[in-house]
């Protein structure tokens, strides 16, 4: 059992993990997630797909907001750019899924420079409002460039294909999205232990001090936006392939706020927290629905259409309670459990 962590060399410090149990459990988790198509039906699997796709976008947002300290309410816009980028390449140019998705990611990344530049001078709520405006601009452009985007009519996406083979089943697409999510998480974890990731952290803690240490603020802030938007663009492209129809309604402003909610509930700055937050926030409404179903049809009869408002209230109340009793987010619960496990029978 570990009693503490001692790092004696720099390579030790930057290793992804030096813990064998962490490696084993991580591999088991991925294997378990890969077995999902064999274990559950297509409806449950659609939640799985939503969770892995959302995780990619949220991990990207977490890198920007949780790690680098730059608040963004423009991620719905990046997601839209990614979705339309992939959609246009797939529909108009017949590109297969992987290159189309990459185009979506890079298009979002490129567009993020528009928002990244103001971030050099703006912070906090001022930056949030600027990024919010980005989503409005993207929506406006989509509606007013019908030759490219089909305007308000939206795009019907083809079935995603991998090397010419169509991923028609929900299971195949889930596994494809899961593979990309694993790559995305590994990518961010690797980034976090590099000079770039540490620069992001330094900027979050005190950007003036970071600059004094030789971190080029403009370069690293723009880089944070570009990487974050790339992830979100990939998520948008996958979303387009999942639903197979996109229009501006799919990328409302609320989406950005929900994404921020996920990283706050999960635990700001933590990759695991972002994933846990995604799982929790995606499954919470379904959990409440199942609870209502268990309580019986009588409840539905009593409340009629107001039963749904009651469900909405419970959803909000659960989130408030989580944040009230676990301000560090859900990852805080995990850290606490791990601390108790490691130190038992001692308190500290």
């Amino acid at each position: 059992m570990r009693a503490g962590i001692f790092k004696e060399t720099y390579p030790e410090l930057v290793r992804l993990t030096d813990s064998m149990p962490v490696k084993v459990w991580s591999i088991l988790l991925v294997l378990g997630a890969s077995l999902l198509p064999a274990l559950v039906g297509s409806y449950a699997l659609s939640f799985g797909t939503t969770i892995v796709i959302t995780s990619i976008g949220v991990v990207g947002l977490n890198l920007l907001t949780g790690t680098c300290g730059l608040i963004s309410l423009g991620h719905a816009g990046f997601m839209a750019v990614g979705a339309y980028g992939a959609g246009i390449m797939a529909l108009d140019y017949g590109w297969s899924a992987i290159p189309a998705i990459l185009v979506g990611g890079f298009a979002a990344s490129l567009s993020s420079l528009l928002v990244g530049v103001p971030s050099l001078r703006l912070k906090g709520l001022y930056l949030a409002i600027t990024t919010l405006a980005f989503t409005v601009i993207v929506t406006h452009l989509i509606l007013n460039m019908p030759q490219l985007t089909r305007g308000s009519a939206g795009l019907f996406m083809p079935v995603a294909d991998l090397m010419g083979i169509e991923m028609k089943s929900t299971g195949a697409f889930y596994l494809f999205a899961l593979a990309l999510a694993v790559l995305a998480v590994l990518g961010v974890l690797n980034l976090m232990r590099s000079r770039v990731g540490r620069a992001f952290l330094a900027i979050r803690e005190q950007d003036i001090a970071a600059e004094m240490m030789g971190i080029h603020l403009a370069r690293f802030k723009l880089l944070a936006f570009a990487i974050s938007a790339f992830y979100t663009g990939i998520a948008g492209a996958l979303f387009a392939y999942q639903v197979r129809y996109i229009n501006v309604d799919s990328f409302g402003l609320l989406l950005s706020i929900e994404a921020l909610g996920i990283i706050i509930v999960g635990g700001l700055g933590s990759v695991a927290g972002a994933v846990i937050g995604t799982v929790f926030m995606t499954l919470l409404p379904e959990g409440i629905r199942i609870l209502f179903d268990l309580l019986g049809a009588g409840l539905q009869e009593i409340f009629s259409t107001r039963a749904l408002e009651l469900r909405g209230l419970i959803y909000g109340a659960v989130i408030i309670l989580v944040l009230r009793f676990q301000p560090e987010g859900l990852i805080g619960i995990w850290r606490e459990v791990r601390r108790i496990w490691t130190n038992w029978p001692f308190r500290y």
Partner: protein, 388 residues
């Protein structure tokens, strides 16, 4: 007729194996699905639609159901978010196993689940949002009850030209920048071209906009005689109020059936006097709607009756059409048979609040007759200016 339908269905079943099964049908029950905006900004329509279906199915089940089977509606809330509509469709199709759909939320929401519905050959009767993209071109399993927003606008403008003598007047439109607005604008453009009208201002606005002072100032400056307000609820209310504030008493304003709701009159107050709307459903207070209201009072509680509106009548019509078509096939209840029954050209009677509904193999759109009404909040509520 029944024999013809049965023969046609048998032939079709042989040709298309996808129709051979009937999910959602058991010896005692038929499950139909609805995905509606029961929460969120469009809940006024979603809740009313839910209640209309509830009335239709309660009545159908009281009359013996379909071949002795009870028809049950499984309703999901999408909160007016397309991604949730898609997820709900997955649930209804793969977990609940529905036979058909009757509640389909907004246009983009319906389009989000359209690939799923088409791949799984789910019979769908759309009655909440008759968007053109759902019936033009004809989609194999989608049947649309109602008329298009464009037809409603065209009818209002025809009245403005023919009965208000505005052939040489100045026309303008304020429309939402989305699929809904595009449908409204299409009707406006058609009328402008057909009647040779002078359109002096075509002003788009972004969804969610609440203030229309600038747009209405432009309408005033252009000396517009007749304005098409392409908003939904709050946008139309803002336009009516702004017109009153600017003293545009002679300005005629027309809009689609989203303004055929008492809530719009209530919100607009004095500004609600005189605007025109067009609808294919009767007004709740008029004689034609009273049989429906009696059913509502029979099958709903008081608080539910208070929530019904024109969307309840249209959903009642949609569900009734589906039930009648299913009854044609009660001995051999397959989607193929019901589809053939719907396409048979038969006029499905859906009560006096809406005209009879007819489809054909090359026309999955009822194109229900529409009439123009004038808002009269202090009097009858809505006064019909034309017939259906």
């Amino acid at each position: 007729m029944k024999r013809m339908i049965a023969v046609a269905a048998a032939v079709q079943a042989l040709m298309g194996p996808a129709y051979a099964e009937a999910p959602g049908v058991s010896d005692h029950e038929i499950r139909i699905g609805e995905i509606l905006p029961l929460t969120g900004p469009a809940s006024f329509a979603g809740k009313a639609h839910y209640l209309g279906t509830k009335i239709a199915l309660a009545q159908a089940n009281d009359e013996g159901g379909v071949g002795g089977r009870t028809v049950v509606a499984l309703t999901e809330d999408d909160g007016y978010v397309p991604a949730r509509t898609f997820q709900s469709a997955q649930k209804l199709l793969s977990v609940d196993g529905i036979f058909a759909m009757t509640g389909t939320s907004g246009t983009s929401h319906m389009l989000a689940m359209l690939p799923l519905l088409e791949e799984q050959d789910v019979l769908t009767v759309v009655s909440i949002n008759p968007a053109e993209s759902l019936y033009n071109p004809v989609r194999e399993n989608i049947f649309v009850v109602g008329t298009s927003y464009g037809n409603a606008i065209h009818r209002i403008m025809r009245l403005a030209v023919e009965e208000r003598g505005l052939k040489d007047g100045k026309f303008a439109i304020i429309y939402q920048e989305d699929d809904y607005g595009a449908n409204v604008k299409a009707g406006y453009d058609r009328a402008v071209e057909e009647f040779g009208l002078n359109s002096v201002a075509e002003i788009p606005y972004k969804r969610g906009q609440k203030d229309f002072a600038a747009e209405m100032l432009r309408v005033a400056n252009e000396g517009v005689d007749f304005l098409i307000s392409g908003g939904i609820i709050s946008e139309n209310v803002a336009v009516f109020k702004e017109a009153r504030k600017l003293g545009l008493d002679d300005l005629g304003i027309g809009t689609v059936w989203t303004a055929h709701l008492p809530i719009v009159q209530k919100l607009a107050g004095e500004a609600a006097n005189g605007y025109l709307t067009a609808d294919y459903a009767a007004t709740l207070s008029e004689e034609a709607a009273q049989p429906f209201m009696e059913l509502a009072r029979k099958y709903l509680d008081e608080s539910e009756v208070a929530e019904i509106n024109r969307y309840s009548m249209t959903s009642y019509a949609g569900a009734t059409v589906l039930v009648q078509a299913m009854r044609e096939c009660s001995d051999d209840l397959t989607r193929a048979c019901v589809k053939t029954a719907l396409e048979s050209g038969k006029a499905f009677e859906v009560g006096s609040a809406l005209g009879a509904v007819t489809f054909a193999p090359d026309r999955h759109f009822s194109d229900s007759p529409v009439r123009v009404l004038r808002s009269d909040p202090e009097g009858a509520g809505f006064v019909p200016l034309t017939n259906f």
